[in-house]
Structures are given as C-alpha cells and as structure tokens.
C-alpha cells in the first residue's frame, strides 16, 4: 500500500507500507502474528502529492500535484536501501500555472503513464524514456477530473463538468468522442470510476460510474452512450464540502458493488444491481464511519475521507485515508450490516 502526504509546504512523505499478514492472505484468518503495517520504504517530496500511481511490473511510482501539471517519477528501493528516490520529472508543455494532472498507468506495451489536467493537454508518456507516445487531439480546455485506460488501446477521460470522452491510442489524429453524462444537473463537479474486470476480460464491457458533487451516481455503458444504464442518488451532507476528494470505484471481487467517498468522514458502499433509471435515493449496503471519530485534520475541521480503494482479492475489504492522516482497513459482514 502506498500512501503520501499532501501538505502545502515541503517535507511530504511517500511511504510504501507492507500490510500485516491478515490482509495478505486469501482467507480470513483470526488473530495473526502481526497486526501492524511495516514501512518498507519511504521518500520525501517537496510538492504535495495529490495523485499517486504505481507503474505495473516496474518498481516505479508516478506522482502529481501542484503547483503545475508535471509529473514526478520515483524509484521504490533497490535491495540495499529503503529510500524511495526521485528519478525524474515528466514536464508538460505550458505546464506552469496549469492545475495538477490526473494520472493513470498501464504496462501493456511498455510502462506508460496517461496524464493531463485539461482536455487539450492529455498525453501518454513512456515512463522510463519520458518520450511522448500519444497526444489527444482536442482543442477544448475543459478541466479534467479523471482519466483511465479501459484497455490497452482505449482511454476514458472525464471532465469536471461531467462529459466523458473516449479515445483510441492507435488513432491519435481523430478527435475525442464526447459522451455527455445524461441528465446531469448543471453546476456540479463529476468524477468517474472504471471497473476492473477479472484478468483478461475487456474493461470496456464494464459500465463506468460517474459521481457528482451533489451525490448523483450514473452508470453508463461506454459502447452505448446514448442513455445511462442506471442512476441513483446517495445521501450527502449539506452544505457539501466541495469536490476535491470525490472518489467512486467498483469492487474488483464483488459483482455490482461500488464505493463512494469524499463528502465527509464516511465511505458508502452500494449494490448497483438494484438500481433503475429513476435516479432516486439509494440505500447503501454499508457505511464506514470510522474516520469521523478520528482526530481533527490540519485545518481544525472534522476529518474528510480523501481517497479509498478496494482490496484486490478480499471481496468486502476496503482501504480508506482521511485528512487527519488516518489509514483504515475495514470490511463488513454481509448479513447483519455493521459489526
């Protein structure tokens, strides 16, 4: 598990943590020899880290964050040291003054990082050589809120205002195909979550989920974008706390389940199989409230969940981090709700 700090001044740490054996095993064990995380290696970043992605099949990490849209590449330790070293920076043209870049990584043909902060500066760069292998053809300067590889050739870009765009890496000249999120209320910010099917399956067959700062959730099939598959609304506190940390993701090992966070100190889990197109309020299968009982964040307010992710193998286990520096690993029991 990699975690990083996003404090405004320097001295942010990037840590690679080894989870305790309970979380590594496939079956749930009882008490295990260790319950603690081990710091495998760590490094220091001058910039706040807003996004952190591992480059698969390599020992590299890519991070991004203010003050511009450039990326930092890090080497996770060699055998003889536990320090995460900065190896290079991937600059972007006209990068200064741009918002921070969203990133996604893949290692299908070579270790690639897809990055950009606006529709008109989306690139795919080879991580090791820092060579650009793809530039998206778009003149729109819409701000991006997320991007992902649907498969090794297909990209999905999500604009903050709610549009989804598809692109094919093999056809860099053709313009991006925009797909609006149907019936999206104006004025809200959107983010996207892409499913990760079992190994070998085509990710583009899974619906993508879009989440808005007002709590609207829409599921769309990217191959048939004229209408949404289903939509629902999740309960959000008001006034809403802004859209900085909105996060929606599909469970890799639990069909139809997705998790939502970023509104407050909770993480909601929904079963989207029961949704229809009405867009009415959905009941979460489970709500993790642990972070709300934590300390205070650096601003003195109650903690806000900054990001969450699913355990790749354990079906009902999630990891979430919050603005008070806490990291929670939790699960829920299906039948009786919260334990």
């Amino acid at each position: 598990v990699c975690v990083a700090g996003y404090g405004p001044s320097g001295g942010n740490e990037i840590l690679q943590l080894l989870p305790p054996p309970t979380l590594q095993a496939k079956e749930t064990q009882g008490l295990c020899p260790e319950r603690d995380f081990k710091v495998e290696c760590g490094g220091f970043s001058n910039r706040p880290v807003y996004s952190l992605k591992c480059v698969p099949d390599t020992s590299l990490l890519v991070t991004s964050g203010p003050p511009d849209s450039s990326l930092q590449v890090w080497q996770v330790s060699a055998e003889d040291s536990d320090v995460i070293k900065s190896v290079s920076a991937i600059p972007t043209e006209n990068g200064t003054g741009q918002p921070w870049a969203r990133i996604a990584t893949i290692s299908a043909r070579a270790p690639w990082v897809l990055h950009g902060s606006r529709l008109d500066n989306v690139h795919i760069t080879e991580v090791e050589s820092r060579k650009n292998v793809y530039v998206a053809a778009s003149r729109s300067s819409e701000e991006l809120s997320g991007l992902a590889f649907l498969d090794c050739n297909t990209l999905l870009l999500c604009c903050a205002k709610g549009q989804l765009c598809l692109a094919d890496v093999r056809q860099p000249q053709s313009p991006l195909e925009a797909v609006s999120v149907p019936s999206a209320p104006c004025g809200e910010r959107w983010c996207v979550g892409v499913g990760r099917g079992p190994q070998g399956s085509d990710s583009s067959s899974q619906p993508v989920a879009c989440l808005s700062s007002g709590g609207h959730l829409t599921l769309t099939d990217v191959r048939k974008t004229s209408e949404s598959l289903a939509s629902a609304k999740c309960r959000v506190p008001s006034p809403s706390s802004g859209a900085e940390f909105l996060c929606v993701s599909w469970a890799p090992a639990l069909e139809g389940c997705l998790a939502v966070s970023g509104f407050d100190g909770t993480v909601h889990v929904y079963d989207a199989r029961s949704w229809d197109s009405s867009g009415r309020e959905a009941e979460p299968v489970f709500v993790h409230k642990g972070h709300a009982f934590g300390g205070w964040d650096s601003g003195g307010g109650p903690p806000l969940v900054t990001v969450h992710t699913w355990h790749p193998q354990k079906p009902r286990t999630l990891l979430s981090a919050a603005s008070d520096g806490s990291l929670h690993v939790w699960d829920w029991v299906q039948s009786c709700g919260k334990c």
Binding site: G11, E13, L17, P20, G30, L31, C32, P33, E34, R35, D36, F37, K38, V39, E40, C41, G42, G43, F44, D80, S81, D82, V83, I84
Partner: protein
C-alpha cells in the same frame, strides 16, 4: 575534539542481548546486560572480551546501568558480574531491583533443572550479583563518582522501566532502554525534559512499524475470547508473572463488567500475589488513573478474576486462565495446555514473543503435533492465536522522544541498517542532527562541543563595560583578557593582574619608522607642513602640534630631523606602541606618499 564513543556489544540484530558500552570524558559505562533467549550456547551472552581479553572487568568500567527487568536487558547480569567478574556499582530503579532476581531465578531454574545446562549462573550468584546493586529513584541525580552522575526518567513499557541520563561535566548521553510513548491501562507514557544531551541512544526494534490502533487490537482480542467462551470453550493465556499480564487483566475485567459475563477468569496463584504485591509497593510507577482510583479500589484486586487451583483445569464449561510461564516451556501453563489442547473449542492466545525451542514457538509456527516427554505425541486441536501487546515506541514515538529531549546527535540500536535509511533521513531532516546506526561490535564516535565555563575577574568586567557603547544584550561582546589555567580552573583576568600574579614585568613594545621626505626647508617648516597635511586628511582623529616641535596623532608621535648627509632630505620619525599598530602603519604609508605641494 572531545568525543563520545558508543559500541553495541553482542552479535546479531534480533531481539535480545541489549548491551551497549559508552565512553564519555574518560568514563566507561555499560548500559544493560541482556541475554539472548534464542541461543543455548555462548552466543546468548554479550561478548565481553571486547572490554578486556582476560581478567575482571571492575577496573575497566565505572558503572553498569540496567534499564528494566526483561531478560533481554538483564539476563546476563549474574554471568557478567560473578562468572566474568565485576565488583563495581550496578544501578537500576527500585522495582527493577525487586523484580530482576525473581525472573533470573525463574529462568535459571528452567535452564538448569529442566534443560540440564551446566555452564550457567547459580542461585547464589544471582544473590551475590544483586548485592552490588544500587537502587535509584526517578529524577534523582546520583553521583557515581566526583565527575560522573546519572539520572533516571520514566520510560513506561513495564513496571520500573527507566531511561537514563549519564553526565560528565557538560557532556551527556541519554539511553532509552525500551520505552513507550503512549500510555496504556496500567502504565503511563515515557517522559523526559529538554535536557539537550549530546547523544540520545534509542532502541529502534519497532521503528519501521506503524502500529495498529490499540483499540482495534484489544477489540479483536476481546472478540476472540468472548466467542470462545460463548461456545463453551476454554481460553489459556500464558504470561510472564509481571508485564503485560496486568494490562490484559485490567482489559478483561473491564470487559467482563461491561458485558456482564459470568464465565470465570483465573490467575495462577503465585502470580497474583507477587504481581499485586509489587504493584501495590510501587504504585507511584503506575499511571495516573490507577493511582487516583487506588484509594477507592485497588485496580489489581479484581472482582471477576480469581485465584486458580490446578483442579479447576478439569472443570467443565468455559473459563479463561492466565498461567505462567509465558512461552509454554514448562510449569503450570504447559500442564494446562496439555489438558486442553485436544479440544477444538478451546483457544490459546500467546501474548508475546516466544523463543525458539519452546512449545509456544512451535505452535505459533504452525506445528500441530508435538512430541512431549516420554515420546508422547500431543495433537493440538485447539485454536492458536498470537497477539503482540508489547509496549514499544514506533517511528512516531521515536520522533516524539527526540522532540522532547532535543539531543545533538541520535544513535539507533537494534535495527537493520538497510531498513532504517528512511528513518535516518527523516530524523536528520526534521531535527538537523546526525543519526547513527552502528552494527553490533562497531564503534561510533561522536564529536561533542562542550562549553568550558571560565570565571572572569570583576575588575576586567567593569573595565570592559566602561569602554565604548552600552552592551547590546542580544549581541555577544568581545572582551580581551588573559586566560589563566591552573589546577583544573579557568580564569579570565586583565593582563596587568596576570603579570602581577605571575610576577612578571610588563614590557612595552614600541615601533619607530623612518620616512624620508624631500624638503629643503627648515625642520620646523617641514613639521608644520606635515601637521597641516595630517590635520586635513585625518579629520576624525586628534592631531596636535606640540610646543617641542613634535606632532601627535592620537598617541602616535611624529618628529622631524634633518638627514645627516643630505640637507634637502628630512627624516620623519613615526613612533607608536603595539596597540596602535593599525593606525601607525596607515600613517607611515600615508607619509611615504609624500606631502602635497601646497604652501604651508
């Protein structure tokens, strides 16, 4: 440069065998004298031959300090003092002094009686060793000799554990032993003042761990105990007599009370009495809450926890039993284990580290068929769980302690150097201090910069303050004097007083320089020209023309004479004292440039 030398003794970087040698300002101190529980041969003791190859160690060490009663910190003490030979003082806190011999005797019994070892210390040796112990109180400055003093600070961790400050003159080292920066149910957290030692030596076994929240760990433990008891099973918790046992007892007692549970909880008799006795005796060493509630209710007199009788092990129905010893290697806990192992409804929870070779270690490694005495095979069907409740500081704790003490250097022991590079950088970046991580047997030298106090004579102080502007309290003031070093004391006095004390006459140094000037006029006219010239140039200085024909610039004297052979040349004699060297040289160069051609 004065230096402090630190050498961790003993080989290997696993748990056990804490023993650190420190050399500070000519004094040699040994910190802890632990035994490695994993070895059965000489490797279990630290390698004392580093200090000297032959003979007793008394002459080589000024004192020995023991931080707490865990065997990996004091287990080798009787061997060291009675078998290798040391007669000097051994310092430890009162609870440590009371509890150490009990654990040492316990371990000796098992090693010699059960395992039949021969080269081991005897009961008498333990007694003789403890006679050399001097007990200390917290925050009490103890003078080991005229120059060396030590002071103990609260370390948490276990009853009586202390961190020690070792001071010689202005150089000091703080050794933490094992400590804990978060309070638990029966002990407080470690604390130290801003003593700013030259060096802080900290254990770092858990430095790369981020500990799970205590609440989660406890909740997990209680859940498992509860589940087992609910289905009618029995829970065995092997513990050492003193240590985490008290913590777990308080935890269970509170839980039983809250959940209104009826299943009995038992504590081996010998254990309860001893533990209770020591905790009552050393109540000031427990945490705030316990001390406060002690008046109304002794926290260690439990409502739900009763004394155990061997016969109870055969009783039907659920129960929880705390029994010694902690690694299931002998005694009551092993007996109970054998009785309950065959039933899968039962559970054994190991609350601490188990040394290789013990039954505890075997079952934790997954062994389910154990060979007991008489070649009997024991099938283990009961659930085996492990939970580390030990109280150690993690990386966050280490940073906290450094922040409290403000050392100038940090040294980490008992960690793998390769895996500590990140922590080392973190410490260096945040506190701007050097961080060292010596391997066992490797000596680290730390250079110190001690301040040397010097007495300044009143006369000199008064004189210096009289000259010049009022002193600025924020700026250091430069003073001139003579430093007299005599009989280990330093004094700063005025030069005159120094000369007087030493019976020396004062010598004055005077320089005279000759400057040739082309001037055919009379001497007194030349003098006038020089005077006017200097007056014009040196506007800030006092330039005077004296009646006897000489010129003074401040205290520098200038006279003119005619050259003996050449009437057209005048010789200017410029004369100044050593103190006026700067002005004198400047005047000379100025005059060498010649006089302006103006009319006088």
């Amino acid at each position: 440069m004065p230096e402090i030398k630190v050498t961790p003794l003993g080989a290997g970087q696993d748990v056990g065998r804490s023993c650190i040698l420190v050399s500070i300002a000519g004094k040699n101190v040994m910190l802890d004298c632990g035994m490695h529980m994993g070895y059965n041969d000489d490797r279990r003791f630290p390698d004392f031959s580093y200090i000297t190859q032959n003979g007793r160690l008394t002459d080589f060490l000024d004192c020995v300090i023991i931080s707490h009663f865990h065997l990996d910190h004091c287990g080798a003490l009787p061997y060291f003092s009675e078998m290798v030979g040391y007669d000097g003082p051994i310092y430890m806190t009162h609870p440590t002094k009371a509890i150490c011999p009990i654990l040492l005797e316990d371990y000796r019994k098992i090693t010699v009686d059960k395992k039949g070892e021969t080269n081991f210390f005897t009961s008498q040796m333990i007694k003789d060793c403890m006679k050399k112990v001097v007990a200390v109180h917290l925050h009490q400055t103890v003078q080991v000799d005229e120059e060396l003093e030590i002071k103990a600070y609260y370390a948490g961790h276990v009853l009586g554990a202390a961190m020690f400050q070792i001071k010689v003159g202005c150089e000091s080292v703080v050794y933490t032993g094992d400590y804990n920066m978060t309070p638990d149910r029966h002990l407080g957290a470690a604390w130290i003042d801003k003593c700013r030692p030259d060096l802080l030596i900290s254990e770092s076994t858990y430095a790369t761990t981020i500990r799970d929240s205590k609440r989660c760990r406890e909740r997990d433990f209680l859940k498992k105990v509860h589940e087992t008891v609910e289905r009618g099973g029995k829970v065995l918790i092997p513990v050492f007599a003193l240590g985490r046992a008290q913590e777990l007892c308080i935890l269970l007692e509170t839980f039983w009370e809250r959940m209104n549970l009826k299943a009995p909880i038992y504590f081996s008799t010998g254990l309860t009495e001893k533990a209770n006795h020591y905790y009552k005796l050393f109540i000031t060493w427990t945490n705030q809450k316990i001390r406060k509630t002690f008046v109304q209710r002794n926290m260690f007199e439990f409502k739900h926890i009763k004394a155990f009788d061997r016969a109870f092990a055969d009783n039907p129905g659920p129960m929880v039993v705390f029994a010694t010893p902690g690694m299931l290697h002998a005694g009551q806990s092993l007996q109970i284990f054998r009785k309950w192992a065959g039933n899968e409804k039962n559970m054994v929870i190991m609350p601490g580290y188990c040394v290789q070779g013990t039954v505890g270690h075997k079952i934790l490694s997954g062994q389910r068929k154990l060979e007991m005495e008489g070649r009997q095979i024991l099938e283990v069907k009961m659930q085996v769980e492990y939970m580390s409740f030990s109280a150690h500081a993690d990386a966050k704790g280490i940073m906290q302690l450094i922040r409290q003490a403000e050392p100038r250097n940090v040294l980490l022991v008992h960690g793998e150097a390769k895996k500590m590079e990140f922590l080392k950088q973190k410490i260096e970046q945040e506190f701007h201090v050097n961080c060292y991580m010596p391997a066992n047997g490797e000596t680290t030298t730390i250079f110190t910069n001690p301040s040397i106090p010097v007495d300044i004579s009143l006369g000199l102080l008064k004189r210096e303050t009289a000259i010049g502007l009022l002193p600025d309290v924020k700026k250091p003031k430069l003073m001139h004097g003579t430093l007299i070093m005599k009989d280990n004391s330093f004094r700063l006095v005025s030069p005159e007083q120094a000369l007087k004390e030493l019976g020396l006459a004062e010598h004055q140094l005077r320089f005279t320089c000759r400057v040739h000037i082309q001037d055919p006029r009379k001497e007194h006219e030349t003098v006038l020209r020089v005077y006017n010239h200097l007056k014009g140039v040196l506007k800030d200085y006092s330039v005077q023309h004296l009646p006897d024909g000489s010129i003074t610039v401040e205290s520098i004297l200038i006279q003119a004479t005619a050259h003996s052979e050449d009437q057209g040349t005048k010789v200017l004699l410029v004369s100044w004292t050593y103190q006026d060297e700067e002005l004198g040289s400047y005047l000379t160069s100025l005059l060498k440039k010649g006089l302006p051609q103006s009319t006088s």
